[in-house]
Symmetry: C2
Subunit: 206 residues, 2 copies
């Protein structure tokens, strides 16, 4: 299958999460307009995305929720799952590790890193925190493909470089410092200031 | 001025943040292709966004950084600034408050809320944490227009409803629970699982 657009993958992930919640409520079918309403998008968008992954519902019942969850899983998960490291165990790093703890997903956080001796060689929500000086060694040994950066902005670029050198293929950057990575590495960046400024703009315009 | 598209506002916020960093390095002009490279987007995108806000650079020098920062500010900030509350003072709530602490922006976090007696009536990075039972009273008294939700997913909908009832006009939801708000309220949602699943998909495809 061809590589899907960024935004489609994002929505597929959201569809799956929503569908898992609905399945837990013992509902087995859903119409595109119901799924769309839950995610504040148009039914056309939902139908287009789901056609793109080669699935279709029935006119009378809509999509089979269980089937759709499985098909999305086949597309976005990898069979063996992927192993994630979090670098920077401040409040944000800890909240991310805590959030994943006990969740069954194909992504597992298997290592944390910090330079603070009070944090190193301790366990945070089931994840071991290594000394940052061991980053390259552990990333390789643990076969980690995805790195999450939650260090101060001034350190972000150095951490990203070290991750890339150690074979990491995807980076999620939570610092406000935009990073440069080789084109063979997938970079996703999130800054809360942007989200809040966007909200502030639309609040002002309302 | 007409309401700008969501994604344009998002990029304007990113342009400004990047430009502020560059100005601090004593650079005074920048070309669209330089700004584009820093943000991993196309120069055409940058030029289109900046034309949309009625600004243009010169062929020889590009954009005047200081002017552009000011113009973006006029568009996305409101004169008096906007007041923000964070509900849920776990690791994520604390990291958000800490992140804003000392930053000069037109957004100020002026109140925090929790139900945990160990957190209530304490100060976190300069922000007072109130008992959640006082939410409506404080939101109104403090003239808070934006609410950030960092509570457990099961509580998110109730918190959002209470915020809306108390006059909040914009909500940033960090729980994995998609929310429903009236169309007069601007809602932005972020879930790290989606970011990581997107990265995982592209890593798999590489």
């Amino acid at each position: 299958m061809k590589k899907l657009p960024d935004k489609t993958v994002e929505r597929l992930s959201q569809y799956r999460r929503t569908l898992i919640n609905i399945l837990a409520e013992n509902k087995h079918h859903i119409f595109s307009h119901e799924l769309a309403a839950l995610l504040h998008i148009t039914p056309v968008q939902v139908r287009r995305d789901i056609m793109l992954i080669g699935y279709s519902g029935t006119l009378r019942q809509g999509y089979d929720i269980k089937e759709l969850i499985e098909i999305i899983g086949k597309i976005i998960d990898s069979k063996e799952g992927q192993r994630v490291a979090v670098v920077g165990i401040g409040n944000l790093g800890r909240s991310i590790i805590g959030y994943f703890s006990g969740k069954r997903t194909k992504l597992s956080i298997v290592a944390a890193f910090d330079i603070n001796p009070d944090k190193v060689d301790r366990v945070f929500a089931g994840v071991w925190c290594y000394n940052y000086s061991r980053l390259a060694e552990i990333l390789r040994k643990e076969n980690i493909t995805i790195g999450v950066i939650t260090v101060p902005a001034s350190e972000a670029a150095a951490v990203a470089d070290a991750m890339v050198m150690a074979g990491v293929k995807g980076i999620l950057n939570f610092t406000p410092k935009p990073l440069n990575v080789p084109s063979s590495v997938y970079l996703e960046e999130y800054d809360i200031i942007t989200s809040l400024e966007k909200i502030a703009y639309f609040v002002k315009k309302m």
